[in-house]
C-alpha cells in the first residue's frame, strides 16, 4: 500500500504547476476569447475572417503539436534567421499554447452566450443613449457571463486534463512527476494510478461545483 501512497504523493507535487498553468491559461484564454467573440460580431469582414481562421486552425490541430511548434519549433526558426531567441523557461510557451487553445474554444462559448441574450436588451440600452461598446460592457456581457459560466467551468476542467501533454515540452507537471518516478523506481502501475488520482483531486470537486451551480440556477429560474 505504501508504494501507492508514495506514487500519489509524488504526483501531487506536480499539482501547483498544473494548477498555475491552467489558471494563467484560462485567464489568457478568456480575455483573448472575448476579443475573438467580439471580433466575430463586427461588420469588418477581414477581422471576422481572421477570427474564424484562428479558431479553425487551433481546433483542427492537436494541442501537443501546437506545443511542440511553440516550444521547440519557433526558437529554431528564429535562430535560423539569425536571432538568439530562447525561451527563458519552457513553462512560458506551454502557458501560451494552453491560453491560445482555450481562447479558440471559449470564443465560441462566449459568442453563443452573447447571442443568447435577448435582442431587446441591446435595444433598451441603445435607446438610453449608450454606445454599442458601453451596452456590451454594462448590459450584454454581464448577462452572457451568467449564461456561459457552466460551459466556462467545463472548459477549465478540460484544460486541466489537457495540460498533461505539456510534460512532452519540458514542463514538470502532474504526469511528468509520475513518469520521472516510474523511470527511476519501475513502479509503473502505482506511478500512473497516483497520477490519475492527483488529476481527480482537481477535476471532481470542480465538476461537482458546476453541477451544483446549474441545479441552483435551474431552481431559481423555475421560481421566477
Amino acid at each position: 500500500m505504501g508504494v501507492y501512497l508514495k506514487g500519489f504523493l509524488i504526483a501531487c507535487k506536480g499539482i501547483p504547476t498544473t494548477v498555475w498553468v491552467s489558471i494563467v491559461a484560462i485567464v489568457l484564454g478568456a480575455a483573448l476569447g472575448l476579443l475573438l467573440a467580439l471580433r466575430s460580431q463586427t461588420r469588418s469582414k477581414v477581422l471576422r475572417v481572421i477570427a474564424k481562421l484562428y479558431v479553425d486552425v487551433v481546433r483542427g490541430t492537436p494541442m501537443l503539436v501546437q506545443a511542440l511548434i511553440m516550444a521547440y519549433g519557433v526558437p529554431q526558426l528564429l535562430q535560423s534567421m539569425g536571432s538568439d531567441f530562447k525561451w527563458a523557461n519552457l513553462v512560458i510557451p506551454a502557458v501560451i499554447v494552453c491560453g491560445l487553445n482555450s481562447a479558440a474554444y471559449l470564443s465560441e462559448v462566449i459568442r453563443s452566450g452573447i447571442q443568447a441574450v435577448d435582442k431587446g436588451q441591446m435595444e433598451a440600452a441603445r435607446s438610453l443613449g449608450m454606445s454599442r461598446g458601453m451596452a456590451m460592457r454594462l448590459i450584454i456581457i454581464p448577462q452572457a457571463i451568467r449564461i456561459i459560466l457552466p460551459a466556462f467551468a467545463n472548459e477549465f476542467v478540460t484544460l486541466i486534463k489537457e495540460t498533461s501533454v505539456l510534460g512532452y515540452v519540458g514542463v514538470v507537471e502532474i504526469l511528468r512527476r509520475g513518469q520521472l518516478w516510474n523511470a527511476s523506481s519501475f513502479e509503473t502501475f502505482p506511478a500512473y494510478i497516483g497520477v490519475a488520482l492527483a488529476y481527480m483531486l482537481l477535476t471532481i470537486p470542480l465538476s461537482k461545483a458546476i453541477n451544483g451551480y446549474e441545479r441552483k440556477r435551474a431552481r431559481k429560474e423555475a421560481a421566477a
Binding site: D118, G120, Q121, E123, A124, A125, R126, S127, L128, G129, M130, S131, M134, L138, I139, P142, Q143, R146, A224
Partner: protein, 241 residues
C-alpha cells in the same frame, strides 16, 4: 417648431416595403397615437424615429436637429423608449435600472441619480420596489419601472411601442394611468397602441396606418368616432365591439 418631424420616411426589409413615404409632425406637448392593424408599419415607424430601425429613405428631425449616425447617441438621450416586452435589465435592481443611464451616459453623480430615481419610482407608485429585481415584479409593475427608467434620462419625447400588449388585462389600467398622468403634465408622446379608449381620452391627434401609409389622421373624434375612409371604418368596427 415641431418636436418630431418625419419627412418622406421609407423603410424596406429586403423586398418588403413596410413604410411607403410617411410625413408627420409632432408638436411640443402633443400626444400622438398611432393605431392600425398588425403589419401596418406603425411599430416600424416608431422604431425608425429613434433609429432602432435604420430608415431606407427620408429624414427625421428631433427638436429641429436632423438625426445622423454621428449625433445618434446624443439625440437618443432626448427620447425615452418604452417597449412591449419591457426590456428591463434583469441583472440589475430596479434602482440600478433607473440610474445606469443617467450615471453612465449623462455622467450624473450617483447620489443625484439615485435621488431622482427614487422620486420617479414614487411617481409610478413603486417606491417600495427600489431594491427588488425585475423578475420579482408583475408585468404591470415591470412596465411602470420601464417608464420610470426612460424618464430618468429627462427626455423631451417619450415613445411607447404597444406598452400594454404584453400585459394581463387587469394590469393594463395601472400602466395607462401612469401614461395619462405623463400626458397631462405636458410630455410630448408618440404611442403605438390598440387601446382605443386611451387614444380617445388622451390623444391630441390620432393617425390610422395601413399597408405602410397613413390612411387617415385627425383628432380622436374625427378618426375614431367619425372615420371617413372605408379602411378605417372596417378596422374600427372590428376592434370597437
Amino acid at each position: 417648431m415641431s418636436m418630431i418631424e418625419v419627412k418622406g420616411l421609407v423603410k424596406s426589409f429586403g423586398d418588403l416595403e413596410v413604410l411607403k413615404g410617411i410625413d408627420q409632425n409632432v408638436d411640443e406637448g402633443e400626444v400622438l397615437c398611432i393605431v392600425g392593424p398588425s403589419g401596418s408599419g406603425k411599430s416600424t415607424m416608431l422604431r425608425c424615429i429613434n433609429r432602432l430601425e435604420e430608415p431606407t429613405g427620408g429624414e427625421i428631425y428631433i427638436d429641429g436637429e436632423l438625426i445622423t449616425e454621428k449625433n445618434l447617441d446624443r439625440i437618443r438621450t432626448k427620447m425615452g423608449m418604452v417597449f412591449q416586452q419591457f426590456n428591463l435589465f434583469p441583472h440589475m435592481s430596479v434602482l440600478d435600472n433607473l440610474t445606469c443611464g443617467p450615471i453612465n451616459v449623462k455622467k450624473e453623480n450617483k447620489a443625484d441619480a439615485e435621488k431622482k430615481a427614487l422620486d420617479l419610482l414614487a411617481r409610478v407608485g413603486l417606491a417600495d420596489k427600489a431594491d427588488q429585481f425585475p423578475r420579482n415584479l408583475s408585468g404591470g409593475q415591470q412596465q411602470r419601472v420601464a417608464i420610470a427608467r426612460a424618464l430618468a434620462m429627462d427626455p423631451e419625447v417619450m415613445l411607447f411601442d404597444e406598452p400594454t400588449s404584453a400585459l394581463d388585462p387587469e394590469m393594463v389600467g395601472e400602466v395607462l394611468d401612469v401614461m395619462k398622468t405623463l400626458a397631462r403634465e405636458g410630455m410630448t408622446m408618440v404611442v403605438v397602441t390598440h387601446e382605443m379608449g386611451f387614444a380617445k381620452e388622451v390623444a391630441d391627434k390620432v393617425i390610422f396606418m395601413d399597408g405602410g401609409y397613413i390612411v387617415e389622421q385627425g383628432t380622436p373624434e374625427e378618426v375614431l368616432s367619425n372615420p371617413q375612409m372605408d379602411r378605417t371604418k372596417d378596422f374600427l368596427s372590428k376592434v370597437l365591439v
